[in-house]
Symmetry: C2
DNA sequence: CGGAATCAGAACCAAAAGAGTTCTATTTTG
DNA sequence: CAAAATAGAACTCTTTTGGTTCTGATTCCG
């Protein structure tokens, strides 16, 4: 089953909370834990990962918390998912990071197609911003139209 | 990490072998095991799943084997992947089969977007046929162009 | 200055999923 | 009937995922 991990799901959920709070909204782990009904340790872990990926900035100490590192319109689903789950690539031989090598890379006849497929999927996710996620009707109408008129 | 399971990978690999053999090519488990360097039990398991999904037809008995149920141009990656891995849906609440229900389905603000994203990905995979997979340069040039001019 | 609140990072454990093998039918051919 | 092949299920081992816990560092505020 091709599916996002729960981690990535949580990441997106929490990021939309930040998006609603705006650039200046500083939210702590406990804030978000009550808002999202996720356990505090889970929220904590997730936020730390998003911070390490540069999507959130942190402020320690009393009254600390996290806030968006960039405007919600400049953060895409692709970034959030990659921050949580690692590179998006359906096949190992096409990871961005270039790790896998199946041995027949140079001559593999289907390799070229996989590259295209992977980037199609990445582009789909890179085309959705946090801002669009919190304005579903507006965002999706635009996307739906594009998809309908331009099937891959 | 968003990734195909090995099962799906094997499924695609074996299906391309059938595509090369043509509609009338009858291949047995042992044939494919030697061709693909996969273990015989693994090939066996994979082919059985593809048969159950209606992508291959089987012939039992001596000199038996499998062959394509349809023309290679009429079989898509989406079908193969769904046959092996189950429904393609990044989020549980959007499975084709309508299983998951998170409880806030009716009001979930990001639900609409996920539907769009999922179908964009499904469409990407439904747009690639087995025939295109065995003619990589031809197939991918066409797709690449579409993707470039029409980002989702 | 000291304690409380908050983030940082790593280690750890249990549950679930994935990968692969084995075993027992059933069907077909010669 | 024997051999060759698929059909289907069960089973084990490993890896991944989901989640918690523990220790340490930083900042604010009385």
């Amino acid at each position: 089953m091709i599916r996002l991990t729960k981690q990535a799901d949580y990441g997106i959920l929490l990021m939309t909370q930040f998006a609603r709070a705006g650039m200046s909204g500083l939210l702590s782990t406990t804030d978000l834990s009550t808002r999202s009904r996720l356990s505090q340790p889970m929220v904590n872990k997730t936020l730390k990962q998003l911070q390490r990926a540069g999507l959130l900035v942190s402020h320690r100490g009393v009254n600390g918390g996290y806030r968006l590192a960039r405007d919600a319109g400049a953060i895409t689903l692709e970034e959030i998912i990659e921050a949580m789950d690692g590179p998006i690539a359906l096949t190992e031989c096409h990871e961005h990071t270039g790790g896998g090598d199946c041995g027949i890379k140079a001559t593999c006849p289907t390799r070229v197609n996989w590259g295209v497929i992977n980037s199609a999927i990445r582009d789909s996710l890179a085309g959705i911003t946090l801002l669009q996620m919190i304005h579903p009707l507006l965002g999706s109408r635009r996307i739906k139209e594009r998809v309908k008129t331009n099937p891959v």
